[in-house]
Amino acid sequence: MPLYLPIAELSMNIFLVIGMGAVVGFLSGMFGVGGGFLMTPLLIFMGIPPAVAVATESNEITAASVSGALAHWRRQGVDVKMGLVLIVGGAVGSFFGAQVFTYLRSLGQVDLMISLAYVVFLGSVGGLMFWESVRAIYRQYKGIKPKLKPREDRHKAWIHALPFKMRFRKSRLYISALLPLGIGMFVGVLAAIMGVGGGFVMVPAMIYLLGMPTNVVVGTSLFQIIFVTALTTIFHSVNTQTVDIFLAVLLLVGAVVGAQMGARLGLKLKGEQLRALLALMVLLVCVKMGVDLVVEPTELFSVGEAGSH
C-alpha cells in the first residue's frame, strides 16, 4: 500500500516503512541502543533524501526515548543536574551542527559529511567495543578476573585540574562543569549531522570520562537525548523544512513492536556476547559507508536536492 510522504515528496510502501522500523527496533531493543545509527543510513539507502533522513530520524529518536527515560525516571535513574548541563552543551552543539549541515547541503556536500561522520565515529566506537567485548569473552574463557580500580582513581589528573567545579549529588561527583558541557556539545553536533541520539558516544563518555555510576548512566543519557533531538528537530525544521512527521510516526510504530521482541531475545544472551554482536553490526554499517565512498560510482552525476538554494 503506497503512502505519499508530503515533506519527503515521495511515495513509499507503508508496510516497508513500518517493517524497517520493526527491524531496527528489534535490534535496538535487543542491544539496548537507540538505533539512529542504523535507521538513518537505512533511510538514505531506501532513497529518502539525506537531509530528510537525518531530520526525521531526530524526530523519531525523541519519541523512541520517551518511554525508556520515564522508566529510568521512576527508578530514580536520572541525574537531572548532570542532564541539564549536558543539555545546555547539547543545545549549542546541535545549533552549530544544524548550521553546518545547512551550509554543506547548499554546497552539495552533505552526503559526504554524513558518510565521513559515520565512518569515523562508527569505526572508532565499533572497533573499541569489539576489542573490549572480545577481550572480556577471552578472559571469561580463561577465567581471568580484571581488577576494578577504586572510584577515586578513575579520573585522570587533567580532569581534576579543570575550573568551574560543580557537585552532582546523584552521580556522587565533584567535577568541572566544562567536561559534561563539552561532551554534551560534541554529542549535539553528532545528533544534528548524523541523525542519531548519540548514546553510543554519550554512554562510554559518562562511564569512562565522567566516572558516573552505571545506575544513572542510561537514564541520564536518555533524558539528555530527548531534549537534544527535540531541539535538533526544530533546528532542522527551521533551516531546511525536512522533518517528515508522518515518516517518523510510522517508523516509531514499527520500532515499538520490534523493540519489545528484541528486548526478550536480548535477555537470553550474555552481556559480552551482545556487545560483540552490536560491535560487529556497527562496524558493518561503517564498512558499507566506507566502501561506498571509495568504490567508483557507476553514475558519477547526480541531481541536487530540490530544496538546496
Binding site: G68, I234, V249, E296, L300, F301
Partner: protein, 252 residues
C-alpha cells in the same frame, strides 16, 4: 498573368492555410490531486483532427505530444576522485529546467519529420532550449552535464521520450497515455499537441494540466514551509505524545 495570379494565390493559401487542420484535445483528468495514497498517475489524452471542424481526416497524419512540467532550478553535480574517496566536485545549475518532460509520438520521431523541423519547435530532449549558469552568465550548458540531466531525470521517470506511443483510433481520432511518476513536481503542466503531415506541422494546440497537493498533504506541506518553527514544535509534541503512548501500550 494567369500564371502569376495562380502563384500568388498558392502562396496566400500556404501562408493563411498553415494550420490547415482543426484540432481538439482533452485529458481524462485535468487536475491531479496528490493525496496520501498518491503513487503516480496515468492520464489519457484524447484528440481529434479534421480538415475542417466537421470532416475527420482519414489519410496519414502523425501526432507528437509534448508534456512539460513546471520549471525549477536544477543542480547537476559530478563526482570526482579526491584522494581515496569520490566526492561531488563540479556542478552546473540550470535555473529553469522542466521538472517533467515527456514526448509521445505516433511513430519514431525520425520518421515523422526532419531534425530541423523538431529543432525549430523545440520538440524533444535534444532540442529543448536549456540554459545554465556559467561564469559568463547564462549560456548553453556543457554537453556532458546536459546529457546527465536527461539521463538522471529519465531514470527517475520524470523525462520520457518515445516510451509512450500515440494510437490512431480512426476517423481522425487519436489517444495516448501520459504517465506521471510519484515524484512528479507540483505546478502547472502544458500539454502541446502537434499534427504532422508529410514532414511539416499542420496543426498545434495546447491545453493545461495542474498537479497539486490536496487536503492534509497540502496543509502539512504549507505548514512545514510557512511556519517551520511551529511545525518543528508540533513535530516534537507529536513525538513526545506518540512515544509516551507507545510506552503505555507496550507495557500492557
Amino acid at each position: 498573368m494567369g500564371k502569376l495570379r495562380f502563384i500568388t494565390w498558392l502562396v496566400l493559401v500556404m501562408l493563411i492555410g498553415q494550420p490547415a487542420l482543426a484540432l481538439v484535445t482533452d485529458l481524462s483528468n485535468k487536475r491531479i490531486e496528490i493525496r496520501y495514497s498518491f503513487n503516480g498517475a496515468d492520464l489519457i489524452l484524447f484528440g481529434a483532427v479534421g480538415s475542417s471542424a466537421v470532416d475527420p481526416v482519414n489519410d496519414n497524419f502523425d501526432v507528437v505530444i509534448v508534456v512539460r512540467g513546471p520549471e525549477a532550478r536544477t543542480v547537476i553535480r559530478q563526482k570526482a576522485k579526491v584522494g581515496p574517496i569520490w566526492i561531488n566536485d563540479e556542478s552546473l545549475t540550470f535555473p529553469s529546467a522542466p521538472g517533467y518532460y515527456a514526448v509521445a509520438a505516433s511513430r519514431p520521431l525520425s520518421q515523422i519529420a526532419s531534425d530541423a523541423v523538431f529543432a525549430s519547435y523545440g520538440i524533444g530532449f535534444d532540442h529543448l532550449p536549456l540554459l545554465a549558469n556559467t561564469p559568463r552568465g547564462l549560456a548553453a550548458p556543457d554537453g556532458e552535464f546536459r546529457s546527465a540531466l536527461f539521463r538522471l531525470q529519465s531514470n527517475s521517470g520524470l523525462f520520457r521520450q518515445e516510451q509512450d506511443s500515440v494510437i490512431h483510433v480512426g476517423e481522425g481520432l487519436f489517444k495516448t497515455d501520459i504517465r506521471l511518476p510519484a515524484n512528479v513536481p507540483v505546478g502547472d503542466f502544458l500539454v502541446e499537441t502537434f499534427i504532422f503531415k508529410d514532414g511539416s506541422i499542420k496543426a498545434r494546440n495546447r491545453i493545461t494540466l495542474a498537479v497539486d497537493k490536496e487536503g492534509f498533504e497540502r496543509a502539512a506541506y504549507d505548514f512545514a514551509h510557512g511556519y517551520p518553527f511551529w511545525y518543528g514544535l508540533v513535530a516534537v509534541f507529536v513525538a513526545l505524545t506518540a512515544g509516551w503512548l507507545a510506552g503505555v501500550l507496550g507495557k500492557k
